[in-house]
């Protein structure tokens, strides 16, 4: 369907995209991820024919975007980051303009407009000026304009940016629905969006592709060691006695709280167990602890979240920097830092859309790695 071959783009000596290579099959929803300035928008603009690549070729259904731009452009629907709307037009006249511009057959124009209006929930706003629409409706109108000609390939540049959570859900549902009939390439820096929508993701950093695969597959593939966090009703000493002889796993205590006599609560220990291989040891763990009479209050498999994969892949430089920095520090201080960060991570067990949180988790990840290494 879409083939991007060795595509590079150079802007005034600055490198935008460097030798990008990927293909997309019909019916795929592909998430295009990367930090700001990674080259997502540039790549999308090259696919849609808004920019010409400095080198390399892009073909859609075997037709080159460069040589036969017009026939390719009629197959593509494109929604730029800011929807390309004319503030002085009404919703209806805008859609009519786009339909005519995009070669919708003249007798179908009216039908398509009403179809788009009802599909994107723009009813009752046909006569309203674009200027007066809210951000969410503008986004919908932009989307309507990009699918009015029923394109084979839909390219969406951050379709949910700047929307409120409800609108994000609506737009996502819509994209999922569109994905049934169209091939969709969407860029975003909201990671859960990718796992929610896409069956494949591409991560790009500094203009180069760093990862290509399905979001589900990454969680386990990137974490090369099996990790489990548990909370056990026991004292730290008891646990150590039981688990130290077990050589398969490495044990780190995250938090140990001593029981208070007044509230009659027992001692609990939270710890992170890292297996030497990627084998699942949870069952074994359960029998060991139950054999020792120590009840497990919580057990959770630690997957590398998308945020962590993303950060791991896109911040290699900073990671090595911090590694060398940490290596010079006292091991004791290192451990304290690790424990702090680990509790931080514990406080937010489910890493979600929050960007801030993801950075936190990411730094915890990179630090805990170095922590383990220096141990």
């Amino acid at each position: 369907m879409l083939e991007v071959k060795q595509v590079s783009k150079v802007f005034d000596g600055r490198r935008g995209v460097h030798q990008l290579d990927f293909t997309m099959e019909r019916g795929e929803i592909v998430g295009f991820l990367g930090p700001n300035g990674a080259g997502k928008t540039t790549t999308m603009r090259m696919i849609t024919g808004y920019l010409h690549p400095t080198a390399g070729s892009i073909t859609v259904d075997g037709i080159s975007v460069h040589d036969q731009g017009r026939s390719v452009r009629s197959k593509i629907g494109y929604l730029p980051e800011t929807p390309p709307l004319y503030p002085d037009m009404t919703v209806q006249s805008y859609l009519k303009f786009v339909a005519n511009l995009r070669d919708v057959p003249a007798r179908e124009v009216k039908l398509r407009i009403s179809e788009m209006v009802s599909r994107l929930g723009l009813q009752g706003r046909e006569k309203q000026l674009v200027r007066g629409l809210s951000k969410g409706y503008k986004q919908r109108l932009g989307l309507a304009g990009s699918i009015i000609h029923k394109p084979d390939l839909l390219v969406l540049d951050e379709p949910t940016s700047g929307l409120d959570p409800n609108q994000i859900m609506e737009i996502r549902d819509l994209i999922r629905e569109l994905g049934e009939n169209h091939t969709v390439l969407l860029s975003t820096h909201i990671l859960p969006e990718v796992s929610a929508l896409c069956n494949r993701m591409l991560i790009i950093n500094q203009g180069q592709l760093v990862l290509d695969g399905s979001p589900q597959h990454f969680g386990s593939a990137m974490g090369d060691q099996f990790k489990v966090s548990i909370e056990v009703k026991a004292t730290e000493q008891q646990l150590h006695n039981v688990l130290t002889p077990w050589e398969k796993v490495r044990v780190e205590v995250i938090q140990a709280s001593a029981g208070q006599a007044s509230t009659a609560s027992a001692d609990t220990v939270k710890m992170l167990l890292t297996g030497e291989s990627s084998d699942d040891f949870r069952e074994e763990l359960f029998y060991i602890l139950s054999g020792a009479g120590l009840p497990i209050l919580e057990m959770k498999k630690e997957n590398l979240s998308l945020e962590q994969i993303f950060l791991k892949l896109t911040t290699t430089e900073t990671e090595t920097e911090s590694e060398s920095e940490l290596a010079t520090q006292e091991p004791e201080a290192d451990e304290v830092q690790l424990a702090n960060l680990a509790t931080d991570e514990e406080a937010h067990p489910d890493t979600t859309s929050d960007q801030e949180q993801s950075t936190k988790a990411g730094s915890a990840l990179s630090d805990s790695h170095t922590g383990e290494d220096s141990k």
Binding site: Y50, P80, Y86, D88, L101, R102
Partner: protein, 238 residues
């Protein structure tokens, strides 16, 4: 063709909705009528001739045309709607011609406004109608090439004011080309003279429709439209 008409329609809508075009029309009508008053009503010439007031109409075009064309392409760049146009199946040629066509429609409206003056004059004496109609046609050709120049200026920047000033300067230079080389019949002047914007217009007002004059204006428009197309197309190669 349909895409071109779509762009043209959109631009016409924009003309009707934008305060700038009303302002430009108001300035044009106000100034030409003032000049008409001073040169016909106040001065009371002994003959009735449209040419007496035509010169003033012409000089007003110099100010009004950049105001009317500055928005055409610059605004697309500023709003980011060029991304819609350039990723649609439309050719850049269709987009530019659509916009040009809309500006020509506005020009016709301007010329119709200024036909009021010969109409008034006709009450005071016999007008040479051939000269009036040919003057109007000449205005269309001259204005048309000015619009093309303004459109070209509009592709140069994403700021309307910059476009307007650039358009005005290009127009002014072309307008005054014959007086740059001094008034003696120097070689430079003889060489520049045929390219001056208004020189060719005189034969229209005399009631002469000559091929070279028409060709001059059509070519001038064509050259600037081509340049505009090239500049917009170049955006893909940034």
């Amino acid at each position: 063709m349909r895409r071109m008409m779509a762009v043209c329609n959109k631009e016409l809508q924009a003309y009707f909705l934008s305060p700038t075009s009303y302002f430009a029309f108001a300035v044009y009508v106000l100034m030409t009528s003032l000049l008409f008053y001073s040169s016909f009503v106040y001065y009371q010439p002994s003959i009735v001739d449209y040419r007496l007031v035509l010169g003033d109409t012409l000089s007003m075009l110099l100010f009004v045309v950049p105001l009317l064309t500055m928005r055409l392409v610059a605004e697309e760049f500023r709003q980011g709607t060029d991304e819609l146009l350039l990723t649609s199946p439309a050719r850049v040629t269709e987009i530019i011609f659509g916009k040009y066509l809309a500006s020509l429609a506005i020009l016709v409206a301007l010329i119709l406004c200024s036909l009021v003056y010969p109409f008034i004059m006709s009450f005071f004496g016999e007008l040479d109608l051939t000269s009036v109609w040919l003057s109007a046609l000449g205005l269309f050709f001259l204005g048309g090439s000015m619009m093309a120049i303004g459109l070209f200026a509009s592709t140069l920047s994403q700021h309307q004011m910059v476009s307007a000033v650039a358009g005005f300067i290009i127009l002014l230079v072309l307008w005054m080309l014959d007086s740059f080389a001094g008034n003696s019949g120097s070689a430079l002047q003889q060489w520049l003279d045929p390219f001056a914007l208004t020189n060719r217009f005189d034969s229209f007002t005399k009631g002469v429709l000559s091929g070279p004059d028409v060709l001059y204006y059509v070519t001038l428009s064509g050259v600037f439209l081509l340049l505009s197309i090239q500049i917009v197309e170049r955006k893909r190669w940034r």
